[in-house]
Every structure is written in C-alpha cells, then in structure tokens.
Amino acid sequence: MATKPRFIAEPAPVSAGPTYVADSNTIQVPVFPTSDPAGNFAPPFVLPPDQWIVEFVVQQPGNQTFVFDSVTFDDSLQNVMIVENLSDQAGGVTWSAKLKNTVSSVNMLSCTVTLVSQDPLDSAFYRGDPTIAAVPDPMG
C-alpha cells in the first residue's frame, strides 16, 4: 500500500489529475513538492498514441518557491520516442517535453522530475518519479 505523501504545505493541498488539452495534444501534469525522500508528487497519467507535449507544472506550497532542476525520461523504451526535452527550462515553474507514443501494447515510461527550492537555506534536490503508462488505445 502506498504511503500518503507529506506535503510541504500543510494541510495537504489539493486533489489533482492530469489535464488533457486534446486540441493542442498537451497533457498538463501538476507536481507538488513534498518532504518525503521521494521529493515530489504527481498524479499518474496515461500517454495516448501519437505525439503529445507533456507539461509539468509546479504547484507552489505556501510561500516557498520551487522551480525545475530537470526532467529526464528513460529513452530506452521501445516505441516511445523523446522527440524534444530542452534542458534550458531549468529554473522555471513549467517543464515541457514532446513525446511520441507508438506502442502496440501497454508499457511504462520511466521519468524523474527534480525540483529545487529557491530558498537559499534549502539546497536539497526534490526528486519524484511519476507513473506514465503508454497505451495503444486512443482517448475517448
């Protein structure tokens, strides 16, 4: 059984899920900093077939500001291509990557999202690994 995340902003913030903006083939995924060793927290999401922009968005806890350090994907998964993942997004509160899914059966894409605090007294890296299921079935 999964443990409940310990959010930096207590009481725990919100419930959330991914946002599919099909008109622009974009999936928006909220990322919540937590004090767990895992570091941050994002809802699982499904990657439908074809090309999608995955946009991670930091949800700021209280008065502490977090920004992206990096987002990395496992590029060894067959039939999921990392089309674009620009590293110059470090320091921002959103991070976009372009993925192309051509799987013929469901598979999971590994991903590591790393945040850093802009508090000069907090030099920790807040890492999380959201679950991404690449599926062959279109939305609908």
Binding site: M1, A2, P13, S15, T19, Y20, A22, P43, P44
Partner: protein
C-alpha cells in the same frame, strides 16, 4: 476535445471536458482506499437519430491499491439539455467490468464492488483491487440511459483503463 483538470479544491473542478481526479489530499491514511473521480461528458447527437457522443477520461489506476473509482455522467449539451442522463441499472449495469464485449481482465485485477451511487443515478462506483506486477490495460463498458425529450434511449461506450504496479507519487 478538451479535458480539463486544474489543481484546485474538490468543489471547484472545471467540467469542460472529461477529467480524472486523484483524491490524494482527502485520503485518510495509507491503509484507506484511494478515491478516483472520473467525469464522463455526454454530448447530444449531432444529427437526428444519431447517438450521443461520450467522452471518458483516461484513468491510470496505481498499485498495489484498492481504488474506489466514481464515474459521474455530465451533460455536455450547450442548449437543449438531456431530460434524463443516468447509468443503466437493469440487466446492463452502469459500468461493465468485465463486460460482455470485453470479458478479458488482466491477472492481478479484481472487482470487489460495483453499484450505482444512492440518490445519484448519474454516478456509479466500482472498487478495483489492483495488484498487477506489470502495466496492463483493459476495456470496460459504460451503459447509459438518456432522454432528449422523446423518451428514454440506451447507448454505450468502451473506454480503456490502465493498471500499473506503481504507487502514487
């Protein structure tokens, strides 16, 4: 198609498209079930005699977990609303898992309860026990009764659910 879920509190969910919401903030503790809210948007037929258009969200069920999935039918009509929009609850149950069209279920996935929500015929709840060891998917069937003012009609839709062995996070 637009599916919108912006991080917000539970009472301010935008319903302009199919949404899936993981209720991790309201979860009591790690031993309680995780509730997943799935809003299904139903649009009226675009032509006389046509079928309504049903848009269901893509749900990924984390594991190992007992997840309570609550589907809610939402009227997506712009002008003429449905006079009735609810889950079928006769020989065809509102959420068919497994359904006659899709009898195959992945190993490690069980259904321990399935019923309409009391006093809310547009809501159906299913408890999914997910203990898969590898990611998988299955189809299910949504059975709907609707009325546009000319008497009740039935329709159905077959979306996909992904089950994964990863816990939330």
């Amino acid at each position: 198609m637009l599916a919108v879920m912006e991080p917000t509190n539970n009472t301010q969910v935008s319903l302009t498209g199919p949404t899936v919401i993981y209720e991790f903030a309201t979860r009591q503790d790690e031993n309680s079930s995780l509730t997943i809210q799935a809003n299904v948007i139903v649009y009226p037929p675009t032509s006389a005699g046509g079928q309504p258009i049903i848009q269901a969200p893509m749900i990924a069920i984390p594991g190992p977990e007992n997840c309570v999935v609550v589907w809610t039918l939402v009227d997506g009509s712009d002008s003429i609303p449905f006079t009735r929009l609810e889950f079928s609850n006769d020989e065809q149950k509102g959420i068919g898992i497994p359904s006659a069209n899709h009898p195959r279920m992945p190993d490690g996935v069980g259904i321990s309860s399935s019923s309409v929500v009391d006093a809310a015929p547009n809501q159906w709840t299913v408890t999914v026990d997910n203990s898969v060891t590898a990611a998988n998917t299955f189809h299910y069937t949504i059975f709907i009764v609707y009325d546009l003012g000319n008497g009740p009609l039935k329709t159905s839709h077959d979306p996909t659910i992904a089950v994964v062995p990863d816990p939330m996070g």
